[in-house]
Amino acid sequence: MDREEVKNDFKGHLITYLNLLDITPDKIKDDEPLFDGDLGLDSIDSVELIVLLDREYGIKINNPTEGRQILIDVNTIVDYILLNRTK
């Protein structure tokens, strides 16, 4: 998958895992902060995101500091997926 495909794949998972009602992938901006933006995600969502990355891409985030640098917006997460995915 190229970057664009991974991005769309991730946005689809994001909507499913977080049950984001009335949100479609095209409504999620790539550089919009996930936790302080319109999506309004919170700490429980961050755990859901860590589970998502583990299950869908084989990425384990065990270090909270590392997590804060990755789970910023779609771009930072997709970059990390492209570099670290194991499936």
């Binding site: 895992y17 049950n19 009602l21 309004g40 755990v47 589970v51």
Partner: protein
């Protein structure tokens, strides 16, 4: 204990006057899912997206009451299974991901007390908060708890009392294999006379405001009685004892609300119960509207309040009511094991 207000979400349109006005939904399937109101105006989207169906419809039924009755002293909920779909999803994930990383939301939403807790948080209610989970008598025990709480309390004391149960497709299939539900589809309005094994599956959430204050009450809940594993003689004794304890005789009961669910294996209990009364005793059913579920007696109680207020003129559907009743006896049983009586009286 007085029933001051009620809100029901059920497979009928009970969140508006449609059901009261006699517009009954007919389903040609064996799963009767609730018809939900729009939650978007009452539940913030950030909370709504996480809620399982049980929590969602519980809150949907409770919030309108909480808005109308601000000073509540506690929340008492009865649910046999709570967030069943989330519970099963969570358990399946344990297997699917080999006891690895699990999402928290399914677990949080699956706990039976998630509803009472969420209601307390949303309404900032720091009072009594209890969820009863003992199977088909969960709502009856919630009633009992509320009655004890109100005993000796001031007239201004009020509680939110209610029940919720949701259908899980996974669990439905297990129960179907176990013979709890009919193998052939039938119309729900033909449920009572179906004379085959099993019932049809329902769900719902019904909430009440209960208080010692009779002012503007919908009805008075006189008392309730429950028994497990009775035989036929026990049932008659229990009924007579229950009526005696409440200074009533069988002829004082104007109407029976019966929990017949069309299961030929267990509906004979209702025939037996009717035999203790005069053959002219009027009766109505309710599971033809909402299906079978373990806290369906909460819907029966909602139904009773509407009949006592004369809001439902329930003639010729399943059993007849020729006039507005003053005292109603609700009798429900689950698979011949768990039985309950609830006495409800009109308030003039």
């Amino acid at each position: 204990m007085y029933l001051k207000d009620v809100y029901s979400i059920s497979p009928q349109v009970t969140h508006t006057d449609e059901f009261i006005n006699g517009n009954y939904k007919i389903y040609s399937k064996n799963i009767l899912s609730v018809i939900e109101p729009s939650y978007s105006e009452m539940i913030p989207a950030s909370l709504l997206r996480r809620m399982g169906k049980a929590v969602r419809m519980g809150i949907g039924a409770a919030l309108p009451l909480i808005e109308r009755h601000e000073k509540l002293n506690g929340i008492v909920i009865g649910t046999a299974n709570g967030g069943l779909e989330n519970c099963i999803n969570f358990l399946n994930q344990i297997i699917e991901y080999d006891e690895g990383v699990l999402t928290p939301t399914h677990f949080v939403q699956s706990t039976p007390n998630a509803l009472a807790g969420q209601l307390a948080l949303m309404s900032k209610n720091t009072g009594y908060n209890v969820t009863h989970v003992n199977g088909p008598l969960a709502f009856e025990n919630a009633i009992l708890d509320a009655m004890m709480f109100l005993e000796g309390a001031t007239n201004k004391t009020a509680l939110l009392l209610g029940a919720v149960e949701e259908i899980s497709n996974y669990n439905y299939n297990i129960d179907l294999i176990a013979g709890r539900y009919k193998s052939d589809y039938i119309d729900n309005n033909k449920l009572i006379t179906s004379q085959t094994k099993g019932s049809i599956c329902g769900e719902g959430s019904t909430m009440f405001i209960v208080s010692n204050d009779a002012n503007n009450a919908l009805a008075k809940l006189i008392n309730l009685k429950q028994i497990n594993y009775p035989n036929e003689i026990d049932l008659e004794y229990l009924l007579n004892q229950f009526l005696f304890e409440n200074d009533l005789k069988t002829e004082d009961i104007d109407l029976l609300i019966l929990g017949n669910n069309g299961d030929v294996q267990f509906d004979s209990w209702y025939t037996l119960l009717k035999s203790f009364f005069s053959s002219k005793k009027e009766y109505v059913y309710y599971k033809n509207f909402v299906g079978e579920y373990r806290t369906s007696s909460a819907f029966a109680l909602y139904f009773a309040t509407q009949l006592l207020k004369g809001r439902i003129h329930h003639k010729g559907i399943e059993g007849d009511v020729s006039s507005i009743p003053k005292i109603i006896l609700i009798y429900n049983q689950f698979e011949g094991i768990h039985h309950s009586f609830i006495l409800v009286q009109s308030v003039v």
